[in-house]
Symmetry: C2
Subunit: 362 residues, 2 copies
């Protein structure tokens, strides 16, 4: 970690790097950045603390947004809902949190907790529960350790606050929260996975926010010196290029609270005459090269703009886009048996066995 | 009130009388009766207290079941869920309840609170929030007085407990609770409308449980002395016969968590050649005689078996059933402007203006 706070400039870098970890989903960090920037301007920069520095008995609570990213674009939250959700959960627990953290460093939820931290005068932990983005609440590393998402709160912009007190599994929490989110108009601010320090240190993925920031910094620095932004991304992430081509087909629908669909790219250059099909549910799940799976969850599959290396979210995809598809190894927690049960290709209904891309992070 | 407790025999009478106030919906009290009877056998009869005797600062909480009655028939609860929901809400509030009460004296929810009271060793208040049954959470007399349904809890047989902490209106509570109930498998046990004594005395309908019991007692006494059970019902309720005929058409579907549909009766005797159409959403809402509305919500429309005067619930309707349709005046709270806004024909999408049937109760 290069420095122990997040200011406006860091926000820019995080918001730039996070969509790469978002793998098409996770929502556009732009909205979260706007919220956080406004609060930071008023209240000052946010202290970012190392996961390892959280006291064992301290309470940390994740702050996040839930819903289909395609809805976020039309229904921009004020930031007050995140505070309502967070305060609602603190009141339910009868205890103030020591810090907040990100459940999902990929996409929107990288910056949401920073805004919440700024509003509440709390530090944010440099960690997350995914090391990337995933579409469902139970798909976090705390689930690997049997830690519950509940008690969890949801708040909407109208003033409704719901507590999911106790559920039998994190999958049930996902189910209840998903329909409530749809009732709330397609998106909600949430506070969840209240953890003690000793649980957080075991279960969370350390360094995720500074990882997103580093990716953003590398990109910005490559642009500034007219260098190669793709190479900068690959260096920061240990990723590899799996395809170069352009979007020739796109099917996208909002269904059950998710953005689902497929995107097809036709190869250019050395990939000429080849086709890559990517299937997504908010996030890119599986990449098939001429019918064979070449990368899949939990590894990261990201589509970058060929020119700028800016990661393209699912809702930003459009016909004719010239792109580079990158695969990045997931955190090693996901490559365990329990990790693959939670977020491997089988969970999403694909029969393909998980075939890891080179190297793991962490 | 003839006596201040509810024993097994009283349960029989309540379970017999309540479906008349259920107006086709509210669920079959049989299940609630079984649960309550089992607990009463183990723990002894339940003390029933007058609404007027509740201390002003005492906390009372309603105990109920929520969902489509057509589902209750297939998914019978154990009684433990009602206790989980009740205890969950007490824990959330940080206070033990002084008593429980019925939110809906018509149907299943007449007996559910008696089982909860027996399980928890609490008294049950002789009152309810409807004086009948209605399909939605906000359709209770406390809504007329601006009292919130929240905090409210829901529990299922799997062990999930959800708290709706704070919503902006009781209509939002209904919306959230309805989808959660569907997620929970179509039905859930709930605890809601936590009220102080002074609020309960103003907002609830006094005497509803003993009213249901009196109807049941009159019916049983008429059968025992081979008297006229229909006359006994009319005497106990000040109701009037609006149609005599048999079921010739029935359309019923489970939709959005409700049992919706229509039943058509062809007249017999003095109603020969006439047709009565009844539209229902769990409860009977509107009765049209040859196309003209002759009774509608909030007044009570009940279909009785012509032979025994036993009220027939929506799910008990069948082709060829010989029936007497009775209209009963609703409680006067519902005939106010605010009451009619909440549960008048307009709310349910009917353009007909409310035309009260003779006399009001209370």
């Amino acid at each position: 970690m290069s420095h122990n706070f997040v200011d406006e400039d860091d926000l820019e870098s995080i918001a730039l790097g996070a969509p790469l970890l978002g793998t098409g989903g996770g929502g556009d960090p732009y909205i979260g950045k706007l919220i956080a920037r406004e609060v930071i301007r008023r209240k000052g920069k946010v202290r970012m603390i190392l996961l390892e520095s959280v006291p064992d008995d301290a309470l940390v609570i994740a702050s996040a947004m839930m819903g289909a990213p395609t809805v976020f674009v039309e229904k921009i939250p004020s930031g007050q809902e995140a505070v309502s959700a967070f305060r609602g959960l603190e009141e339910f627990l009868g205890e103030k949190a020591y810090a907040t953290y990100s459940i999902e460093a990929g996409g929107l939820n990288s910056t949401i907790p920073i805004g919440t931290a700024a509003s509440l005068g709390l530090p944010v932990v440099d960690a997350d529960g995914m090391g990337r983005a995933f579409p469902e609440i139970q798909m976090v590393s705390p689930s690997i350790y049997g830690l519950p998402a509940t008690p969890m709160s949801l708040a909407d912009e109208k003033g409704n606050v719901v507590i999911l007190e106790r559920t039998i599994t994190n999958e049930w929490t996902e189910r209840f929260a998903r329909t409530l989110t749809i009732d709330m108009g397609g998106s909600a601010m949430i506070a969840l996975y209240p953890l003690r320090g000793h649980q957080a240190k075991r279960a969370l993925i350390s360094g995720s926010i500074s990882y997103a920031r580093r990716i953003g910094e590398e990109l910005r620095s490559a642009w500034a010196r007219k260098g190669d932004p793709l190479r900068a991304v690959l260096r920061a992430t240990r990723g590899q290029v799996i395809f170069v081509g352009k979007v020739v087909d796109l099917e996208r629908r909002t269904e059950g609270g998710f953005a689902r669909g497929t995107v097809r790219l036709r190869g250019t250059g050395s990939d000429e005459r080849k086709n890559l099909l990517i299937r997504f549910q908010n996030e890119n799940l599986v990449a098939e090269l001429d019918g064979s799976v070449i990368a899949c969850v939990p590894d990261l599959i990201s589509i970058l703009d060929a020119e700028t290396a800016i990661p393209i979210t699912t809702e930003g995809l459009r016909y004719g886009l010239r792109s580079v598809v990158v695969a990045i190894p997931c955190h090693r927690k996901w490559r365990t048996r329990k990790g693959l049960e939670l977020v491997g290709p089988g969970y999403f209904g694909y029969s393909a066995a998980y075939r890891p891309v080179r190297r793991t992070r962490g």
